[in-house]
């Protein structure tokens, strides 16, 4: 499906998320260092040469810039494209002396105007060539390796910063979720409608009044934010969901049927509060309630291949392809990931013959010891 590019020493066009500009390729400190070292090297080796210092300077400057270019290319090359899978430091260690020799060769070829024979036969030219190439390697290699170490340190620092950023983002998310719990959990519309039903039963002296009040108290107690944060369990959540469904059943007795069937083994599992309730409320509000004849809601929980699967099924209105997903579902997906890790899932599918199925699933912890 893809044409695999041949690895090459030349810098391939790698593009980080923000694609490169020329500016990314030229770093002023590196350039300054190369020029400085190039000029200093010319001064240092000038006693050995008869050539005027400014010519030497032009040569060493050219070699220094060539080395900088090769170094930058090695640094920018993506890991996978380094030749023969060598580590970056080894590539630099081999490429830089090679570049030093080649760049010096270019300088000397220019000096003799391409007359290779004269270059190869004149002893002083050969020794000059060797000294220059040696000096270039001597200066270039340590500087390059130190630069590489520094770059690595910077990379580590950037990584740590990114990590901190991610952590504070998650902390903020958890805080937001808590705040949402504190403010919007008990919807006034739901509460007052339910109270109107309680009022009706009480006034009529109905024997069903205490049961409805009991469910309301159960629901409020579970939905109320608690400050002493005991490890939340699925059993608590199921209590809340039962109370909610019992209330809704009382309010719409001819339009709602419900059943909860959850494997006992799951009851003790850690579970993010309100996660199941969100799905059940959705099933009532968007599934069953819009239907004139109502519908039924089934909550199912089972263990399947090391994963917990908790589903809410309704036979209501279902989901239109163009229905804008509320923030509730994406928040829930994020909360599941924050709570159970990236292997947690929230999946929606159509229920047969109609309605919606929403399934939460997450990997169960492996029992610590087995008899």
């Amino acid at each position: 499906m893809t044409s695999s590019p041949t690895p090459s020493a030349a810098p391939p066009g790698t593009e980080p998320p923000h694609p490169p500009r020329l500016r990314d390729w030229i770093n002023p400190p590196g350039l300054g260092l190369a020029i400085g070292v190039g000029l200093a090297a010319a001064v240092l080796i000038s006693p050995v040469f008869v050539t005027p210092v400014w010519v030497l300077m032009a040569r060493t400057l050219f070699i220094a810039l060539a080395l900088l270019a090769v170094y930058t290319a090695v640094e920018r090359c993506p890991e996978a494209r380094l030749p023969f899978g060598w580590p970056r430091w080894l590539t630099a260690l081999l490429a830089l002396p090679l570049a030093a020799v080649l760049a010096t060769l270019v300088v000397y070829l220019v000096a003799v105007r391409g007359d290779i024979v004269s270059l190869a036969t004149q002893a002083d030219r050969i020794s000059g060539f060797l000294i220059t190439a040696f000096a270039a390697t001597l200066f270039g290699l340590p500087i390059a390796l130190v630069a590489q170490v520094r770059a690595r340190e910077q990379g580590v620092r950037a990584e740590r910063l990114a990590f901190e950023l991610e952590r504070s983002r998650l902390e903020k998310q958890a805080l937001d979720a808590r705040l949402a719990l504190l403010t919007a959990q008990i919807q006034p519309h739901f509460l007052f409608n339910t109270l109107a039903n309680v009022q009706a039963l009480v006034e009529a002296g109905s024997p069903r009044a205490p049961a409805l009040l009991g469910s309301l108290i159960e629901y409020l107690r579970a939905a109320m934010p608690r400050l002493e944060a005991a490890e939340p369990r699925l059993a608590d959540e199921l209590k809340l969901v039962r109370a909610y469904l019992a209330l809704m059943k009382m309010r719409m007795p001819d339009r709602l049927d419900w059943a909860i069937d959850v494997d006992e083994a799951l009851a003790g599992q850690r579970f993010p509060p309100m996660a199941l309730l969100t799905l059940v409320e959705n099933a009532v509000r968007h599934g069953v309630d819009p239907m004139e004849d109502g519908g039924h809601i089934r909550v199912q929980g089972l263990v399947d291949a090391g994963r917990a699967r908790l589903s809410v099924l309704d036979n209501g209105a279902g989901m239109a392809e163009l229905a804008r997903p509320g923030t509730g579902l994406s928040n829930l997906r994020e909360r599941m990931t924050a709570f159970f890790g990236s292997a947690a899932r929230l999946e929606l599918s159509e229920n047969r013959p109609q309605g919606l199925r929403a399934e939460l699933s997450w990997p169960l912890p492996v029992p610590e010891s087995r008899p």
Partner: protein, 273 residues
């Protein structure tokens, strides 16, 4: 009640109650029986459609309408009832019943249609009953005014949402016997596979029976970009673009190991990024 009352003078006034919650219908009926013994309840409706049908059949003087009902809601039913009444030259008194809904209450106050907020107490209902009896005794209010009022109410309660382009939010995909609903925001890329399209999202992959071109027309063009004759990719999931030989490129993805091809005619998309 005046003997000159235009309607129901001889037999007493009549009313219809519409609410999807039976306990609340029953309670309202009981309180009305105590506060307004002459009132005849002609029926109780469980939703808006039933309310309209019962109104047409019984033509009561007063209709109590729960705002939140399945199918046709209270405001929708009120409009249908008012239109029917106006066409027949009758007048009808409407009372909306609602649980805590600030906006609804505001709308009703502006609209001068009577309303009750659940849970209501008897003195509040008594005040409504008094107003209704006074209005029934008076000459009927202009029916056209009521229709106008309800139209305003409807727009207040359901402000017309901006008519957005029909963008897909969920892709329905059969995976075995299950039809999954894939949230479009989680889709990483789509690849054409003859008559089918392979959809890859954060939760897996599936084949759907729609052509890529067909799908592309319903997706947000800012988010989904064609990078190859047969590939549509969601930009937020692109992690790296690697330029290859002869003007082609490859896309590396967030959270997926595979690499997607960018063909020559689409590489310009990534040049300026």
């Amino acid at each position: 009640m005046s003997a000159l009352s235009p309607q129901g003078a001889a037999s007493g006034a009549s009313a219809l109650i519409a609410d999807d919650e039976p306990l609340l219908r029953e309670r309202l009926a009981q309180h009305l029986a105590r506060l307004w013994p002459g009132l005849r309840i002609v029926g109780q409706a469980r939703h808006g459609r039933e309310a309209v049908a019962l109104y047409e059949a019984e033509t009561p003087d007063v209709v109590f309408l729960d705002v939140h009902m399945p199918g046709l809601d209270g405001v929708g039913a009120a409009r249908a009832i008012a239109t029917g009444a106006a066409a027949a030259g009758r007048s009808v008194q409407l009372v909306f019943v609602t649980a805590f809904e600030q906006y609804a209450v505001q709308a009703f106050e502006q609209g001068a249609v009577d309303y009750l907020v659940k849970p209501f107490d008897e003195p509040r209902l008594a005040a409504t009953v008094q107003r209704l009896r006074a209005r029934l005794a008076d000459a009927p209010a202009g029916a056209s005014r009521l229709e106008q009022l309800l139209e305003q109410l409807a727009t207040r309660l359901h402000p017309p949402s901006a008519p957005a382009a029909p963008r897909l939010q969920w892709i329905k995909a059969s995976v075995g016997p299950v039809v999954k609903l894939i949230p479009v925001d989680e889709v990483i890329y789509c690849r054409s596979d003859e008559k089918y399209t392979q959809v890859v999202w954060t939760g897996g992959e599936a084949l759907i029976r729609r052509s890529l071109r067909d799908l592309q027309g319903e997706l947000d063009p800012e988010r989904f970009v064609q990078v190859h004759r047969s590939v549509l990719v969601a930009l937020p999931f692109v992690s790296q673009v690697v330029r290859g030989d002869s003007e082609t490129a490859e896309l590396h993805l967030r959270g997926r190991p595979e690499v997607l091809p960018v063909s020559r005619s689409y590489t310009h998309l990534f040049r300026q990024m």
